[in-house]
Amino acid sequence: MDAPHVVGGPAPAVPGRAALEVSPLPGRSGIRARGEISALTRPSWEQALSELARQHASVSYVELSDVAFVDVAGVTALAVTAMNLPDGRVVVENPPPQLPRVLEMFWPGLDRIEVAL
């Protein structure tokens, strides 16, 4: 996670083609993602989350203001990552609207994740 990595084909992305770029969050513990989180970008998202879990101490941040879409499996990966942390929580900043919708549907009241809009 030292350098941004791109999945989904050569950059610049072909229109309609999915890409996800994940980089460390400057100055804070966590990650920033750009693109979309879906089947086509799944490996990159899951790899970023396991790295986040590995480095986690009390609070980790996931900045998603440049993510236009996240699917159910993408939210699931985040929820499961947060549930498996030994302590603390994950703060998700500016997520696409699907994220709170899916969290509420399948993990209502999950206090390991805080959504900051």
Partner: protein, 310 residues
Amino acid sequence: MSTVTTHEAFVHPALFYRTEQEYTQQTVAFLREGLTNGEPMAVAVPGPNLELIKAGLGGDAKGILFLDMTEAGRNPGRIIPKVLRGFADAHPKGRVRIIGEPIWAGRSAVEYPACAQHEALINAAFEGRAVTILCPYDEVRLDPQVIADARVTHPTLISGDGRESVSDVYNWQAVVSRYNQELPTVPDAAAFSYGGEDLPAVRHFAVAQAMRLGLAGERLMDVELAVAELTTNSVVHGGGRGTLAIWAEQGQLVCEVRDAGRLTDPLAGRRPPEHGQLGGRGLMLVHYVADLVRVHTGDDGTTVRFYLSL
């Protein structure tokens, strides 16, 4: 009704009522029996019938969960995961007792096949579990075919005066197959054929079309999520590609995904996953957000249609 108890793990009787009085008498007797046994209880029936039961129970209604089935179970496909297992799983110790009335006189011809399949699949979903689910049927206002199907989907039958019998035609699998009806292509629908590379494009296409057809707000996001699940499923399990079609009919938006896959698990999308389980939520999300889901699956492929009121 005193024998509808614990000799079998899962108990699933149909109650055929002809009058409000029969309805109230039998449902209240069923609930009072549960009260005596100390069982957690839920009642999910259409609004007016909720009122009949509450009035009949009086002070005994306290502690029972009441849900309007025309909302909680608008889409029959979400009744098993959300209403029935939702309640049963929250009370894992001892027997739970539920009244579920998923079929009422206003159900449309498009909804009914999914309703009948739902009633059949309850038997598979709760096999071996200490759960009692009583399903009332309005014998006066429902079509005779609906009453005939209820005798096939329920192992036990109860008449309006409380007489109980064993169904001699019980065979839930037959109802699942009978209502696995073909869903012919709609010629005037907007359509998009996709492969793996087109997943974002087909999603955007669906949202644009849904907007054009008059869908707005949060439901556009639901379309995007549901289409993502169904089209990804085509790419991963359904032969790598598929066709999405979208149109409006009778005040509803209809979105259809057709691919070469075959759905072999009849409970797919109705089995709530464990909290920390990774997969198994895609089709369930479609059931949760839609007002109706119709499925046809066979050797030639699978078609899933979901409906949202406009």
